[in-house]
Every structure is written in C-alpha cells, then in structure tokens.
C-alpha cells in the first residue's frame, strides 16, 4: 500500500481513491439512498481537506473518516428540511440497486434493521472492522457492539430465512 502523507490536505486524489468506497458505503448504509450518500461523501472529504489535522497512522485516518461519515450522515438525515420535504423525483428516494438479486435481498434486509443494529452489522461484515474499531467509530462500548452484532445477526437471519449465512 502506498504511503500517503499523514497531514490532511495533501494528495487528496490518492486519499479519495483509497477511502471513497469505505466512506460512501457507510453513508449509503446510514442514509439508505444515493442522493444523501453523495452529499455525505462530498462533505466528509471537504471536511478532511480543511481540517488541517495530522494523523498518527492510517488506522487513525480511517477511524477519523468513518466517524466523520457517521456524524455527517446523522446531520443529513436529522435535518428539519429533509424531514419536511418530499423528493421531486423518484430517483432521490429510490432504493439502492445492486447487480445480483440476492445482493438486493441482503441490502433490503439490512435496511430493515434498526439503525443501532444496521451500522455494526455493516461495519463488521462489509468493512471487516473489529469490535474495538466499531466501538470507536460509533462511540459505544465494545460490549455494546458485540450485543448489537448478536441481535442484528439474529434479526437478519430471520429476515433472510437462514440464507447467506455460512456459520
């Protein structure tokens, strides 16, 4: 992996290339639609460019980006304007479409989970973060992460009727 400057603001294209899927995926899982995810994606990297922060290592930088993504997603979905407006086009509120049908099923089942369970599941299975890292990103205790993972997995298994589970 190419070494990137730890100070925010430099080599932005390389930084975006490396972390765009991570940020965008979390924003999509949190907001549930691409329009909001696009906004969050741009806001996160603009904030990163302007923060002037120097990170200790890549893990620190990744954790900062994920945490900022969660905050920006919460700000977008909780805004009064968004809650009191109706989208003009169906595209803005259209569900995310994947290429394979089973992918759409899993995504739909994931979106039906409560937010408290959805984000740990996504970060654990899609981003492959440890419970410690998830705890830092979501600002909760690792025990709570494990509890939410267990309950979220049970709900997901019930929704998918046991499919796509290797365990």
């Amino acid at each position: 992996m190419e070494a990137l400057p730890l100070r925010a603001g430099g080599e932005m294209d390389s930084i975006i290339d490396r972390y765009q899927n991570t940020v965008y995926g979390l924003a999509l899982a949190r907001t549930g639609n691409r329009a909001d995810a696009d906004d969050v994606f741009q806001e996160v990297f603009l904030a990163y460019c302007q923060c002037g922060k120097t990170f200790r290592d890549e893990e620190h930088r990744k954790a900062w980006l994920l945490r900022t993504t969660v905050n920006q997603s919460r700000r977008v979905t909780a805004s009064t304007w968004r809650q009191k407006t109706v989208p003009l086009s169906e595209r803005e509120d259209a569900p995310v479409q994947f290429r394979e049908p089973e992918e759409n099923r899993v995504w739909a089942a994931l979106q039906e989970l409560a937010e408290d369970y959805r984000l740990p599941i996504y970060l654990f299975y899609f981003q492959e973060l440890s419970t410690q890292e998830i705890a830092k990103v979501l600002a909760i205790r690792p025990g709570a992460v494990r509890m939410r993972l267990t309950r979220g997995r049970e709900q997901l298994r019930a929704k998918l009727k046991g499919e796509f589970f290797d365990e």
Binding site: M12, D13, I16, Q20, N21, Y24, G25, L28, R34, A37, D38, F41, Q42, F45, L46, C49, Q50, V96, F98, R99, E100, E102, E103, V106, W107, Y125, F126, Q127, F164, F165, D166, E167
Partner: protein
Amino acid sequence: MNKELFDSMQKQMSPSPQVRAELSEKLAQPVKKRPAAWKKYTAVAACAALVIGALGASRYPSWELILQNFRPSILETPLHSYVTVDDLTGYITENTTTETGGGDTGAIEVLPGPNTGDLPGGALAPSGALPGGAYIGDAPSQEEAVNAYQKLMDHFDGDYPDWYGGAYIDGSGYLVVQLVSDEDPGDKTLELQVLDWTDSDHIMFSSCKYSLAHLNHLMDQLNALPAERQDCHEFMAGWGINEEANRIELTLTEVNDPILIVLAELDPDDDAIYVRVGQRATADVGGEDVRTDTAATEDPAVHHKMPGGVTAPVPEDDADLIAVEPWVDEDLDGAHYDIRDLPEERKPAATDSVPEEDASSDTSSFTPAYNPDVGFIYPKE
C-alpha cells in the same frame, strides 16, 4: 455470512463519476474560512449601535444631548481620582495646618494655627521648626527628635536632595525620616549619613515614593493653578504637603472634569495628590437645611474648626452657622498680654432682672435705732 457476497456489494457501493468530479471541483476552489464569531458579533453590535444612534438622535433630544456631549478627548483623557466626604468640617489635618519642613502650605498658609502660647502674636511656626505639626510645648519627649530635625534641616539648608521624602515625629517621640525607595535595599549609606548628621538615637527611617523636592515642585504648580485657571480657582479650597503620608492633600469644594484632568497631568501615577471633595457643612435650623450663600465664593477653609482650636461664636450679622476658627488678636493671644489692657470685665448685675420692690416693705436689712435711755426704738406701725 457470505464473504464473497458482501465484498461484491461493497465494490458496488462507490460514488458515481459525477459526484467524484464535483468533489474534485470543490476541492480545487480556495478554502473559505469561516469568519470568527467575535467579528460577526462585533459587526452586528456596531450596526445596531449605528441604527439606534441614528434613529434615536433624530427622535429624542436626549440622544442629541448625549451625542453633543460626547467628547472623545475627554473620554480618552485620564482623570485624577478623588474621595468624597460628607462635609468639610474638620477636613484639615494637623499636618496641613502647621507649616512643615517643606515650607509650602499653599492656601492653608493663610489659616491661623491654634494658639499654643509658645509663639507670640499667634504667628505661624517658622519654616522647619516643627515637623508634622508637633509642638514642643505639648510634647517635651519630642525635644530630641525636634533637635535632630533641626540638625537635618541645617544640613539641607532649604535644598532638599532627591532621596529625602520628608520627616515627621511619631507617637513614640522618634523622628521618622522618609527615604525615597532605593533599588538597592541593602544600601544603608543614606541612613548612616543621616545618623551622622543628626547625631541622635531618636531616628527611625521609612521608605516612601516621592521626594520632598518633588512634592514641593507639585505644590508650586498647585499654587499657580488658581491664578492660571479660573475653573480651578473656584473649587480649590486648600492644599498642603502631608509628609507623613508622603503626598499632597488637596480639598475641593466641587469636582469637575477640567480640574481632574489637570491633576491627572500633574500626578500621572495618581498617588502624589490626595483629592478630597466635599460640601460645606450644613445645620438644621427650624427643620430646614441651611446652606451658606457664599459657599462658592468664600474661602471655606477659614470656616472650619481647627484642631485644638476653639469654636468661635457666630457673629450676629453672619448667617453662616459653620464653626469658625477665631482670628487671634495679637494683643490678646493668651500668652503675652497685660491684664491692664484687657477690656473691663462686665460684672453681672444681680438686680438687673429683679423687679423693683417697695423699699418700705423691705425689712431684710432693717436695723432698729438704739437710744441708751429708751432702748431700741421701733417705728410705729
């Protein structure tokens, strides 16, 4: 869980090229820093003040008055501090009534000091004779300190050095010599020199900020102030050097900005001149608060009860009820007079107020006539 499925989904969760292009375009623009919060609030407050000032000044005369009286030069000019007293009765301390070694007492110099009987004619003490208002006759134990003070003055010969801040006799009869604070507290050269000059063991030393020469210079400026400025002349009641406090004490009958500005220029540190402001004493007569009509024109200093002085009776033609220090007649100073020159004492007339009675009915002093042949002869009733 199916890892391949999740990896495939994760790869599809990427931003569109349009969103990425927009982000690159935004990042290429110069960063706009948010204005500091205090700048925003300051700008809002300034705009509000301008609007209120403009609207208020056009509608209300009070705003016009405020804006007319707004003098930046006054606001930016420092004013001397002052203390307010209820009235001026007894405001002159003993130190200021007696001329000290400084030899300058300003307007207070016109005041007659209390008649101690030591000086003929009620004259003021000679310059340098009695430091700090001490009287030889009143305090014999201070004699040695006074002698030391005289020796010290003889060495100075009227020209005070910069290190000398004045002297006074404390309650224990010691002469306290004030030395201007030196940067080197371990240097005892001045103390040894003063001890050598005075040759007395009744000497103590104290540190002060201002030299007596500096205070004298300030006194000269204060003395010239009434003649130079009419606005100061009207309100300056008395001033003099208090060597013990190492400052000049100035009493004003009224305070105003111009005189405080002048004093602030003379005393930038605000501690060389102690300014007191007060009204003249008032008395309740017939339930009314009587205030003198000439309070602003007379020198109020002559109307105050002096320390050790006697309150003089109020003249019939003077409605001022303030206690008056009597001017002492040179011929009747209490110490040097000839009893023959005294006005004839008016003896009380015991019968002045007794109504006249018929002398025939008065038998209290009757003595019957005595005839040796007849005996006592009583009048016939």
